[in-house]
């Protein structure tokens, strides 16, 4: 039975209520929605609508006297649907408001109807846009079966598809489109002059004569041969300027600026997307991530409809709770460690970390060796066996994939000996895996660079090894292309040749292997690392191979369907849950690391390495970056001075100083806010205690004096606030006898 205030019932079984507590301003101002009887609702809702209400005192007008009939000015109230009431109450609210609005002037009514119209328009537009979202139905289905953790992986995949498509559109419209439409738009293309000289020799790599069929496949898979002189690679864009009737289009400048633009816009998009999750993670650090409240109050995934998934969700929640509680105990244990134990643990950790570094170093060295070997083999151009050729081409990719397969297993074994808390273990292993994945690309690029800039004599004549790498950007683009293709092949192969047989074995074979291996779990971190790895390659490779984003878009679309089919058919939900919120932050954090890593090689090669003299748009410049200063020097004087001023040291230093000051200010503000919050918390607790004390005294005084004024039933009782019954509870817990006041129980005036 719902009661307004919790008291022990007296011997006649009727519940009493304290009139004083009901008159507390906080009690009255906080409406707690109860289902109201129809009689009471009409009366109450009229006054309620007038006062504009909602569940907490944050919005709405707080009332200090129920009978105060403040004439309301038409302040913008919350729309009716945002009030937590039943439909019937909302309807009466709406008619109430409409009656009120009749009293307004024409202008007020016009404004209100305009606002309502705009709101409806916005809702409709929102609905249309969200129905256009790609894969909406599929993702809904996944959500219902597996919950929001795995859903976040798939929506991350969808985000990457959109990002790659955007990068491709950018590249296409600014670099390829002018070249393509130039003939039809009566544009005059000037190509880079092949002015002779040893640096400008570019032997054609097209195959001549009778070409065996499998060589076409080799070309397709390695980006060489017939693919080399196509729009796919940097070397094809030999254009210098395009003269349209309206103006000149500087293609090298466009190429450079588009590269900078896509990196910068990717950064902005990712940061925008991660803004909410990041803010919450920052806010939480003071409260131990509020992990318990988060898990208990927000833990249940109301989207799950599958019976199996429910059972699994429950067991995963139980596991999480037990782990968290266990972790608390472990923290206590860690704090209690003796010095001797600490030394031992640190020693073990040091040794194991050295071991990990050694493993990483050996992996990197093997990648370096494989790359060097592969490059030498490609240059030798010894056409042996078809398969062996392909293996040589793909040797770096193979080595990287194998390293990325073995090292996580190794790390998860090692971490057991390092004696960290469970949550930290997971995070640390993940960090190591991320580092391994992304740095292997860096090592590959470093080994390529060492090959490109190594010449027979000490000093390279053209700034790079023009004999072996007459068009080195195309070569780098080919390596990135090969990495992408191989990545895709591996994902498909693993799904088909490992996951499906595993499911068959586990379902139909009852042997020990099946029991030990178990059914496939969708391991979110590993899958996310895979696609972030692919995306990093795409970012690095787009400068050298402008069509790579399109290839990556198609690749991710295929991966979506493959993963979805594999998920539905093979996998069960993970026993170790990955929280949706933290996973969003994790995904985008790793993606940002990938982006940062991608920016390094691109900017280094733009600025430092001499551009190929034999191909590409930057033939007439020393480095690719030089286009920009060359163009700036041709701008009108005013703009030139402005740009020089912006890039001068004085500006940079003062900008840096101002940024530092702003940061210090914000940090100081945050510290001040934290202090105020703590003070307010203490004050709240103290006020609560004060109130309890005073009420107790008052009730004792009332009891002693024997005053039992019957409460006028005509006062519509505001439903109990959330604060007062709590006082009643603790109060009544402590003082049993003080509770009973001879009081006729409120019947119809309570909200029932």
């Amino acid at each position: 039975m719902e009661v307004d205030s919790v008291f022990y019932t007296d011997h006649s079984g009727r519940v009493n209520a304290n009139p004083l507590l009901d008159q507390l301003p906080s009690y009255q101002s906080l409406l707690y929605r109860r289902k109201s009887s129809t009689v009471a609702s009409k009366r109450r809702s009229s006054s309620r609508a007038r006062l504009g209400s909602s569940g907490s005192g944050k919005w709405g007008v707080s009332t200090f006297g129920r009978n105060e009939e403040k004439p309301r000015s038409p302040v913008p109230q919350r729309p009716v649907r945002e009030l937590p009431k039943t439909m019937a109450e909302k309807r009466t609210d709406k008619t109430q408001r409409q009656e009120e609005n009749q009293e307004l002037g024409r202008l007020g009514r016009l404004r209100l109807s305009a606002r309502r119209f705009l709101r409806r328009l916005r809702d409709d537009a929102h609905e249309r846009l969200s129905s256009l979202k790609l894969w909406r139905g599929d993702i809904h289905l996944i959500e219902g079966t597996f919950g929001t953790g795995i859903l976040s992986y798939f929506s991350f995949l969808r985000f990457l598809v959109a990002l790659n498509l955007f990068i491709f559109v950018l590249m296409f419209s600014f670099v390829m489109l002018p070249i393509i439409v130039a003939p039809s738009a009566s544009g005059n293309i000037t190509y880079n002059q092949n002015a002779g000289g040893p640096c400008r020799v570019y032997p054609s790599s097209a195959r001549r004569g009778l070409v065996i069929f499998h060589e076409h496949i080799t070309d397709l898979l390695s980006g060489g041969g017939f693919l080399e002189q196509t729009y796919l690679f940097y070397g094809y864009y030999q254009v210098d300027k395009i003269y349209f009737p309206n103006g000149t289009y500087n293609l090298p400048l466009a190429y450079l600026l588009v590269t900078v633009a896509y990196l910068f816009l990717s950064l902005i998009w990712i940061v925008k997307r991660s803004a909410t999750g990041f803010k919450q993670n920052l806010v939480q650090d003071e409260d131990r991530f509020q992990s318990f409240c988060n898990k208990i109050f927000a833990g249940w995934d109301f989207c799950i409809t599958n019976e199996n998934a429910v059972r699994l969700k429950r067991s995963s929640l139980l596991y999480e709770l037990k782990t968290d509680l266990e972790e608390e105990r472990i923290k206590q244990k860690i704090a209690d460690r003796t010095r001797k134990e600490k030394c031992r643990i640190y020693l073990i950790r040091l040794v194991l970390n050295l071991f990990v570094i050694a493993v990483l170093a050996s992996c990197f060295y093997s990648i370096y060796v494989a790359t060097v070997f592969s490059q030498k083999e490609q240059i030798k151009n010894n056409k042996e066996n078809f398969i062996v050729d392909l293996v040589y081409e793909y040797l770096p990719s193979i080595v990287i994939t194998m390293a990325n397969f073995i090292t996580p297993l190794l790390f998860s074994v090692i971490i057991n000996y390092e004696d960290y808390s469970p949550a930290f273990e997971i995070r640390f292993t993940l960090m190591r895996c991320v580092f391994m994945r992304l740095t292997s690309i860096g090592v590959l690029l470093f080994s390529l660079w060492s090959q490109i800039t190594k010449c027979d004599k000490e000093h390279c004549m053209c700034g790079y090894n023009h004999k072996l790498y007459s068009c080195w950007e195309t070569r780098v683009g080919q390596e990135m292309y090969k990495l992408t293709i191989f990545d895709f092949i591996i994902i498909v192969a693993v799904t088909i040749f490992v996951e499906f047989p595993r499911k068959l074995i586990v379902n139909y074979c009852d042997c020990g292997l099946a029991k030990w291996w178990g059914q496939q779990e969708f391991a979110i971190p590993q899958n996310v690392l895979e696609i972030v790895y692919g995306q990093t390659i795409c970012w690095i490779g787009t400068f050298y191979s402008p069509l790579l984003p399109a290839i990556c878009t198609i690749k991710y679309i295929f991966i979506f369907y493959i993963k979805k089919v594999s998920l539905m058919a093979n996998c069960r939900p993970a026993t170790r849950p990955f929280r949706a919120s933290s996973s969003n932050f994790f995904f985008l954090g790793v993606l940002l690391i990938g982006l940062a890593l991608a920016c390094l090689p691109v900017s280094f090669s733009l600025a430092q390495i001499n551009a190929s003299q034999a191909c590409g748009p930057f033939v007439n410049y020393n480095t690719s970056w030089e286009v920009l200063p060359a163009t700036v020097s041709q701008l009108p004087h005013g703009i030139k001075t402005l740009l020089f001023a912006l890039s001068s040291e004085a500006f940079a230093v003062s900008f840096f100083v101002v940024t530092c000051l702003a940061m210090f200010y914000v940090i100081a503000l945050a510290g001040a806010h934290k202090r105020v919050i703590n003070q307010l918390r203490e004050q709240l607790a103290m006020d609560g205690r004060d109130k309890r004390f005073l009420i107790q005294k008052l009730c004792q005084a009332q009891m002693v004096s024997g005053v039992n004024s019957p409460v006028s039933k005509s006062q519509p009782r505001r439903s109990s606030s959330r604060s007062s019954p709590s006082y009643h509870t603790s109060f009544s817990n402590n003082f049993n006898e003080a509770v009973f006041l001879a009081q006729p129980p409120p019947n119809s005036s309570t909200h029932v």
Partner: protein, 183 residues
């Protein structure tokens, strides 16, 4: 769209659109699902009250550990038996829809978690809540010691005025900082 005689009128539809967070398609779909729940002799979809056990046959609610509480919270019946009319059903869907505001969701979540309906979440409520989340059988329950530790942690994190219970504004405060509270 279906051509049954008992379809929603246009003005009623737009009224529902204004009073809830649901879109037109969602309201019509809800209408269809609700009318499937009715028996053969109950024709008046809008005013008929469907008892709780039939509501709980819906696949979305069947596996939900809070299904009974959800029915009780959204029910407007006088006898508090958890039965829902169509409008209660729409209120339910609206509160759980994607476009509902945080305040609505946290308000209803609080009421759902408040097992004894006293306006606060005290130890008994929290214990029942945890048991709902982890399962009812013996091997899936936490031990008493773990439960005590868990509840004291929860109260430590969310009870601001230190009265031993979580009231609505404390709940809303802690929820607003919970990144997982989306659905």
């Amino acid at each position: 769209m279906g051509t049954t005689a008992s379809q929603l009128g246009k003005d009623l539809l737009s009224e529902y659109q204004e009073l809830t967070f649901l879109t037109k398609q969602e309201i019509l779909l809800a209408y269809k699902r609700f009318s499937e729940l009715l028996g053969k002799d109950e024709k008046d979809v809008l005013h008929e009250r469907v008892p709780m056990d039939r509501i709980l046959t819906l696949p979305e609610l069947k596996s939900n550990p809070f299904r009974k509480r959800i029915c009780y919270v959204f029910s407007t019946s006088d006898s508090k038996n958890g039965s829902l009319t169509f409008e209660d059903f729409l209120d339910l869907l609206s509160a759980f829809s994607d476009s509902a505001t945080m305040e609505i969701k946290s308000h209803y979540a609080f009421r759902i978690f408040d097992f004894d309906d006293d306006g606060t979440l005290d130890c008994g409520d929290l214990e029942k809540l945890v048991n709902c989340l982890t399962g009812e059988t013996d091997e899936t329950k936490l031990t008493a010691e773990e439960m005590r530790q868990l509840i004291s942690n929860i109260l430590e994190e969310s009870d601001i005025d230190k009265d031993g219970t979580v009231n609505l504004s404390e709940f809303q405060h802690v929820i607003s900082r919970s990144p997982d509270f989306v659905r």
